[in-house]
Amino acid sequence: MNSADFRIGVAPFANAPDIALKVIAGQFVGAFHIAADILSPMENPGYAFDSRRGQYNAALILKELETVRGTPRFADYEKVIAVLDVDLFVPIFSYVLGEARLGGTFALVSLYRLENDLQRAAKIALHEYGHLCNLAHCPDGSCLMHFSKGIAELDGLPLDYCRYCSLALQKECSCKRSSREVAPVPLRS
């Protein structure tokens, strides 16, 4: 999947550390040969802060990001991984480590509960990326798309998809590519 068209943006919020962004982008480029760029930082999403819980509402952040999807900042990117240093929740859940919608454009990765373990950050980024590419949780316990019940299980997962999920990912990317070939670039301005 070595398409010049298919690019991933790694977009930090406020204080997300550089090293985490490099590791995440490095995974996409190194392991999956998908071009990934690190974008300049965005402002702290104060609008999503829930003062009662002391956490940020991931659903609100995703909603906000979808509204700026077409802006020049993101227009070049097929998928965007947003990285935060704050604690995230989704209403009704006490916390989430990452959040993305099936087939969406933006995914969130929270470094807050990862205890500076960059391997964990990379795993969450790739897992959420899978969701962006329409992958659901995988029954294979040795696949990155397997739902992990907590950090310990996440640590047990390899930094790789099983061959079925890899195949599905490849298919997703090549579909995107061919649809772009049909409707070439000039439409965008």
Binding site: F89, P139, D140, Y164
Partner: protein, 449 residues
């Protein structure tokens, strides 16, 4: 985890939305309802495996909805979502038939755990009825019977291999009891609380065997209206017994070889693999080694299934077991047919021992069953087995005068219920002479049980 049909019932849009996306990512089918009334309407239109219902809703509250759902749709599991700290309402919900409860806010993994638990329980319930319908006949446990040297060797092998998870190939002619041996291995193995599933590969056409083993999803082919789990999945940790393995196509050999290596299957019409776990016991009456040599059976598959071989001897090579088997079957069928038969005569046994038994133990069992059904006395006599066609391979032996004498005396003794005085009267000899003859011909009164 099993893919499920889920409905989220909550008046708060934001809660419905978060749960909706979460279940979607888990690969489930999801619908939402904003009230108990809407939930009941949706249940009316299609079935759901599990409902997540919020306790506090305007109008019909969670408990009321729960009660109505349990009443009308008992197969649908309900998980109640309660506010943080409201233990009392959680308890009440459980009393009203909720499968479980979740207290807000919960960790994503808690939903996953509750989901797994509920689906597992549901699966147990439906698999019990499913297995009952499909393999009832094959789960009846019978003992393997015999005290002969070759059978003692079989017992030793069963005990040796049961503990290990190794694949076993059972060789034996038709009717030798290969399935009983497979069941005995299963019963003595650590998997004995899990299912034992037997499939006769020779009885199913290839396409049917494939869908039976691998299962299919809804719409995988015309006629696949309901998804069906394959035996490879249903066996879930137990033992799969494939009888007549020599009959399967080479495509099926390749497919099964892959399953044994990957421990995964992909049901027809699905792209998601499912982990499977089972012990394979295969059986055949064919010479697979020869079939491998002339290319009729795949060598790699043969070595995969043939880790340990157990050879069951044909009945004609262990005739010393016939008496034991006959007595066992008499007990079994006199009980089943409610006929008061409790023994077998010497002459009958001799008759049975001279038979060649091409159908082995099964043929003997059928013969005894028939004799019991037709018997007119307490003891089965040679006459009761007159229907057995003498085997052409064995030259019919002319009976000597002594043999005829022995049979005649035994016949009379049976008719007199072993009252020696009475029998002596009929035979017109004295009691002492009769006793001497009983000893000489080694005639024995059948034991009564």
């Amino acid at each position: 985890m099993e893919k499920a049909d889920v409905m989220i019932v909550d008046d708060e849009m934001i809660v419905r939305e978060s749960l909706y996306h979460w279940f979607k990512k888990a690969g489930h089918y999801v619908e939402t309802a904003a009230s108990g009334v809407e939930a009941l309407e949706k249940l009316d239109a299609r079935s759901f495996d599990i409902l997540f219902v919020d306790m506090k809703m305007p109008g019909m509250d969670g408990i009321e909805a729960l009660k109505r759902i349990r009443e009308t749709y008992p197969d649908t599991a309900v998980v109640i979502i309660t506010a943080y700290g409201s233990i009392d309402s959680a308890v009440e919900a459980m009393k009203c038939g909720a499968s479980d409860y979740l207290m807000k806010p919960f960790k994503p993994e808690q939903v996953s755990i509750v989901m797994e638990k509920v689906m597992y329980q549901k699966q147990l319930v439906c698999e019990c009825s499913y297995l009952k319908g499909r393999i009832e006949k094959t789960t009846r446990f019978d003992n393997i019977i015999g005290e002969s040297a070759p059978m003692l060797e079989v017992y030793r092998m069963i005990a040796d291999v049961a503990e290990s998870g190794a694949s076993v190939l059972i060789l034996g002619e038709t009717g030798t009891g290969k399935e009983l041996v497979a069941k005995a291995i299963h019963a003595k193995s650590p998997r004995n609380r899990l299912p034992f599933i037997a499939i006769n590969c020779g009885a199913l056409p290839d396409a049917l065997l494939e869908s039976e083993l691998f299962g299919y999803r809804k719409g995988a082919f015309t006629g696949a209206v309901h998804p069906q789990k394959g035996y490879l999945e249903v066996v879930s940790g137990g033992t799969l017994f494939l009888d007549e393995i020599g009959e399967i196509s080479s495509k099926m050999q390749v497919d099964l070889l892959r399953v044994l290596e990957d421990k995964k299957i992909t049901p027809l019409g699905d792209r998601r693999p499912v982990d499977v776990d089972f012990r394979l016991i295969a059986a055949t009456r064919r010479d697979l080694g020869a079939a491998v040599k002339d290319g009729r059976f795949r060598e790699d598959f043969y070595y995969r299934i043939n880790v340990i071989t157990i050879l069951i001897p044909p009945l004609r090579k262990r005739k010393e077991d016939i008496e034991l088997l006959v007595r066992h079957f008499i007990e079994k069928y006199s009980h089943e047919t409610n006929k008061k038969v409790n023994g077998v005569s010497r002459s009958a046994l001799k008759h049975l021992e001279s038979h060649n038994w091409p159908g082995n133990v099964r043929e003997l069992e059928n013969a005894v069953e028939r004799a019991v059904v037709l018997a007119r006395s307490l003891t089965l006599t040679a006459d009761d087995f007159a229907f057995l066609v003498p085997n052409p391979a064995v030259s019919p032996k002319t009976r000597s005068l002594k043999e005829m004498e022995s049979d005649y005396i035994e016949q009379i003794l049976i008719e007199c219920d072993w009252n020696v005085t009475k029998a002596a009267e009929i035979l017109n000899i004295n009691r002492v002479t009769l006793h001497r003859m009983i000893n000489r011909y080694n005639l024995r009164q059948p034991s009564r049980s």
